[in-house]
């Protein structure tokens, strides 16, 4: 199976991150100088700093410094500070959704797919503690942001999972009395909870997160299974 961790923050394969405004005239291919372009550099710096200090406690100048650019440069690539946070979410989560969709199309049993979903969501986090913290903690800092921007994307993400559950119900392997959407939310919450604890606890060894994920998967799978006993 392909895909292994498609969201690593730092790999070079970022050239699909459409450089918003700059990129004036010179054909500035990402490989131009081997390094990521400035927008990406700012985004990564922001993830790092937001994770350490939180969105509100982070100064724009700190992001700039971490990215190695001048304060004003931030505003050439982002409308304002909020926009940086939203962009992080959009860039990363929309990628997750995309991968999630293509994974689920690749067939397999319900159990396999379900576990795959969990792996992916935590794969997003594993080895990327900063992004994990930003996505799970920081995004909640502004309910305005959360409501305006995040919800649609988040809902989309949940729908993918809910779709999987619904499919399982149609296939007769999942209890029909469950509401797929609620299930999806609960799953997200459970994984998020585990990840937050892991992240706030210091990130520690990634194996721990994996084991935790496995237990959560197991509980959910057993919990949703339509079995003879209960029919």
């Amino acid at each position: 199976m392909p895909n292994e961790r498609p969201f690593s923050a730092g790999d070079e394969g970022e050239e699909d991150a459409a450089p918003a405004r700059p990129t004036k005239s010179k054909a500035k291919r990402a490989s131009d100088r081997g390094g990521p372009d400035k927008r990406e550099r700012i985004l990564r710096a922001a993830i790092r700093v937001f994770a350490r200090k939180g969105f509100y406690a982070t100064r724009v100048s700190e992001i700039a410094k971490a990215a190695g650019v001048a304060d004003g440069t931030i505003y050439l690539y982002f409308k304002n500070k909020d926009d940086v946070l939203v962009s992080i979410f959009e860039d990363r989560i929309s990628k997750l959704i995309k991968v999630l969709r293509s994974e689920l199309e690749q067939g397999g049993t319900f159990d396999e797919k379900f576990r795959r979903v969990i792996e992916l969501q935590l794969g997003l986090l594993e080895g990327q503690r900063d992004l994990a913290e930003v996505v799970t903690v920081n995004l909640r800092q502004s309910s305005r942001l959360l409501k305006q921007y995040a919800t649609p994307l988040f809902t989309e993400y949940l729908e993918v999972i809910a779709g999987l559950v619904a499919q399982g119900q149609r296939e007769g392997v999942v209890r029909p009395d469950l509401n797929p959407r609620i299930l999806a939310r609960a799953l997200w919450g459970a994984l998020d909870g585990v990840a937050v604890t892991w992240a706030l606890g210091g990130g520690g060894e990634s194996g721990q997160l994996h084991r935790a994920a496995s237990q959560v998967a197991s509980v959910f799978l057993e919990g949703v299974r339509r079995n003879a006993d209960r029919a």
Copy 2:
């Protein structure tokens, strides 16, 4: 089942909330002059405003206005704005823990207790959309706060749930392969996720939240059960 929803914002059982400075020594029952005491009034106003605007976007003057006191009065009862948020958390969550503990001591089957825990956690939230939003969303706004103050209390809360799971394992009704702490975290996360969605979605009808809780309970109970099939 005894005492439903012990966390209603306005009940009289508040006498343990020691007012900071003011409070003449004269026994001043809450009903002394018709209104609850000032600290409590400020706390409630803060819950309302934080829920609507978020912690950072809320001005101290707005809390004061909502509480019907002068700006400076806030500082007679709280060290600063942060302290108001922390106090909300402490006042409410510590009460939840207390009730949780006493509930679990009252006996019953594992299933009954497990469902009771869930009911209590959501009972905290249901009908108190504002508090729900503050506790689940706002508290995350300051990782400093989260780490310094919330974590110990939160951990304590999780330990109560983990204890229940461990007991279930000792009694042979819960799968022994599960880590009680991870379970507790996942459960909190799942319920939190459901509650946040409900809260952000507008709170809606409280029956919805109950039904959702019931499904989550059901999934978890089935998921953790030690049954013949798998032995």
Copy 3:
């Protein structure tokens, strides 16, 4: 000769043990109990606190606490915080002037009187480091105060010294080319400078201050003397 330190600030035993809630209705003549009346208590407390923290850094509530009265009580005896400082100056300096005048009327040679003036001014300070610091340092904190209130009193004080110098000139023992007022100012300044250094240095042993004063007196006396050499 009389004089011994007529300005003792706190001889009454300064045990700041707050005298409960002060004398409610009982006829409260000042001599009633041998103790200072409330106004005096506040004044002394203020001297103590102003000396330690400076006028601006001192909170009215701190004075109240040090005086063992309620904040509001201050305002029964003084118009406002400024008035407390001004009152300290007026109470103490006007006493100094009175004593100075009566001393100078008692005859003696110019040298004797001159030295007497210096002793008195330092007598005000010696053993009363707090008052010294308030008078020499704190009073300058508000140029408004200094100009409005202090200057007249201060000028009056200087005039007494200038009068002594002028008398010395009439008697032919002081150089006639000197401006008595300038002399008076310089003398005040020199003594003040010595006292401030002593006060800020920690007050130390009072003998030091006396020895310093003696040298200053000696220099000034030699410096102003009309002698054969220069005639």
Copy 4:
């Protein structure tokens, strides 16, 4: 005699005042754009405003306005309001000390040097009533400031004068019974007293200050002289 009044507020010899943060590395001579650099402009404005209203009564916004900069700009060059006052003291007094030292190295009789010291101290003030008032009056406003920052510099200044007196004693022209340090303090106090009176009196004609200084010098010189009469 060389370099009269080396402390005029506006001369170009300011290049040793290292600007805090701004200041591009490009050599930016003071005359770069016609005006003195911003730090200096703020310092001068502060001297003006502090002198008129006193340190505590001066609002940061007033300094900014007087300097023709935005409020926030102050904080690009100074840590806070206190720092502005301290900087005034440090900039100006340290310059005075420097000049004083070089003057005293230039030889001359004791009398000449002594008068030179007085001229310099008052030369600092003459024509600069504002600075005089700030240095003599305002600096005393915060005993914290006074003790932390001013004392070391002030002591250094006094040591220079004390050194001159000690030298006079070694040369046999000054009474050996005098303590040089006390003398230095008394002289500073006397000049300060004269200057304060002059400044508070309205500054008036500078000739007055000169005459006063001359009289003080004369009194001290006569007072400290070792003459045959007393040997």
